[in-house]
Each structure stands twice: as C-alpha cells, then as structure tokens.
C-alpha cells in the first residue's frame, strides 16, 4: 500500500489504521494532529480510520511562533 504522508510517498505492506502508521513511524501521539484526506481526525478515532492506497495524511504539530 502506498500513501502520501506530509507530501512524501510512503510504502507499507498492508493497509493500516492511523494509529498503526504513527506507531510504525515512531511518532508521539500526544503532540500530533492528523488530517486524513483533508479531514481532521480526533485522537480517539486513530484506531478506526484505515489508511488505504493513494490516501493522503498530514501529520501536524504546534511549534514555537509569534
């Protein structure tokens, strides 16, 4: 399965939930904001949403700014 994460192409062996993708990328769940095909996903739903072929994920966070 190939999808785009933050604009880059990523390959996974099979379709995975958002939760599983974050685990495989070793990303901190607490900090992250996830947009799946332009829809913002709540943290509690990370297990339910399955990322499929050609899907787009944006993994965002808050950073310092003024």
């Amino acid at each position: 399965m190939e999808c785009r994460i933050n604009g880059d192409s990523f390959s996974f062996e099979y379709e995975m939930s958002i939760h599983e993708i974050l685990e495989s990328l070793e990303l901190d769940h607490d900090r992250i904001i996830v947009e799946h095909n332009n829809v913002l996903i709540k943290k509690k739903d990370f297990n339910e949403y399955i990322v499929r072929e050609a899907d787009r994920l944006e993994l965002l966070e808050f950073v310092g700014g003024g």
């Binding site: 994460i5 993994l59 003024g66």
Partner: protein, 255 residues
C-alpha cells in the same frame, strides 16, 4: 485589567514562543514575562528528525489562554484552515489572523486578512487580526466584528520600534476594541512607547527570544509595558517648543 472577547487579562504582555534556544530558557522567559497568553504556530511534523527538540512540547498550554497564529498563510483560505486545525486540537481560545501579502517585508495582505476574519467570525472564533498600521483598515475590521486589532509597530522581527506613532495614535483613539501592538518591537523602550500611545497590550516574540538573555529581557519588557501603561493613565505633559522653568522665577533678589 482589559478584555479580549470573553477573556479578562491582567498582563498586557502577550508572548510568542518562536526561536527560543531551548526549553529551559523559554520556560524561564514565559514565567518572567508574567504573560497569560501564548502564541504559537502549526506546522508539518518533521518525520525524519523526530528527536529534534520542540521547545513548545514542554509548555503546558492548559495553563494559558491559547492564541495560535495563522503564520505561513498567504490566502484567507489557508488562514481559515490553520484556525480549524488549531480549534480541532482544542488549543484555540483566540486566533491571531495573519495573512502575509509580501515575502520580503512580511507585511500583511489587508484584503486576505479581512476575508479570513469575516469567515472566522461567522464560525464563532475570537478573532484578532495582525494588520499594518492602517487606520481605515482597523476601523473596517472593527465594524466587521473582530475582537482586537493588532497593528504592527514595524515589520516582523526588525526590532525597529513604532514606525508610525501618529497612525498608531489614530488607531488607538478610534478603537472600541483592544489594540495590541504586534511585531517590530525591539526593546522595552518601544514597548513602553506603544503603551504610552494608549495601546492595550503588546505582543512580543523575537525581542525576547533573540535577546542575549531572554529571561532578563522578559522581565525588562514586563516593566516597560507596565511603565508605559501607568504613564498613559497618568497623562504625560504636552510637548512644548520653548523652555519652561521648573523653579520659581521670583525670589531671586539675593543674587
């Protein structure tokens, strides 16, 4: 005390969180500034440098009024999208609407800013636009219903102080919502100047975070803002062309 929308604020220093060298300095500066409002930005996570420090990760945003900015947006649509992301994440008590219209000067796009404010107000946000020091734009944004006006002192990060004090004064005098001077402040003198002109508050970032000692500068800025506010309330003397003796002119016969 002053109010932005429903929020009652004691501190007149709003603090941006960018460009601090490390989390310890940032935490120290935040504490020393006495701020109740923190500004921050939304960005893509760096998927390849996960161990890079994110100083903001160590700040408990629950302790502050959260004031994300829409920095990076060049259109109203992008600004609205960033606001929606921050709101979704539950850290958007108020939104700093920033739509940049010129890459070189980082001056805001007045039309894009106005449009973003219109949409966000309709969606129920507490909206505070970052604007140029344009008196008419400030009035039109207020008529639109924004909760504060945030005119720049001078371009972002230049530390040039208040470029056009006359415009700033006009904006303050006509405004019925808080005026927060945002961007371009370099030193406590500038922050004090903004407050003496009657601004309700100052939003700072680089002037503190890029100072040699940010924690000490946070303290200096706090004092500058307090002094400026007190001076505004006390009412400064008018500027005169000719000297006016402070000591009595009479009683000099002994000389």
């Amino acid at each position: 005390m002053f109010k932005i929308g429903p929020f009652e604020l004691e501190s007149r220093l709003l603090l941006g969180t960018g460009k601090f060298e490390n989390e310890e300095i940032q935490s120290g500066a935040i504490a020393e500034s006495g701020t109740e409002v923190l500004t921050f930005a939304v960005r893509r996570m760096n998927l390849y440098g996960k161990n890079l420090p994110n100083p903001l990760a160590n700040v408990d945003l629950n302790d502050f009024i959260t004031f994300p900015n829409t920095a990076g947006a060049k259109t109203a649509k992008e600004a609205v999208r960033i606001a929606e992301i921050a709101s979704h994440a539950g850290v958007c008590d108020m939104i700093k609407v920033e739509v940049i219209g010129d890459d070189k000067t980082l001056l805001p796009d007045p039309l894009g800013t106005y449009e973003a404010c219109r949409v966000l107000l309709e969606k129920g946000y507490i909206v505070c636009p970052y604007t140029s020091d344009d008196v008419v734009l400030a009035r039109k944004l207020e008529e639109l219903g924004v909760h504060a006006i945030m005119p720049l002192a001078s371009p972002i990060g230049t530390g040039r102080g208040i470029n056009n004090p006359l415009n700033m004064r006009y904006i303050v005098e006509q405004a019925n919502v808080p005026v927060i001077v945002d961007a371009g402040i370099g030193s406590p003198k500038d922050a004090c100047h903004a407050m003496e002109l009657g601004a309700d508050a100052v939003l700072l970032n680089t002037a503190i975070s890029a100072a040699k000692d940010p924690v000490k500068m946070a303290s200096a800025m706090k004092l500058g803002i307090e002094a400026g506010r007190l001076s505004y309330e006390a009412g400064r003397i008018p500027v005169k062309y000719t000297a006016q003796a402070s000591s009595p002119a009479d009683g000099l016969g002994f000389l």
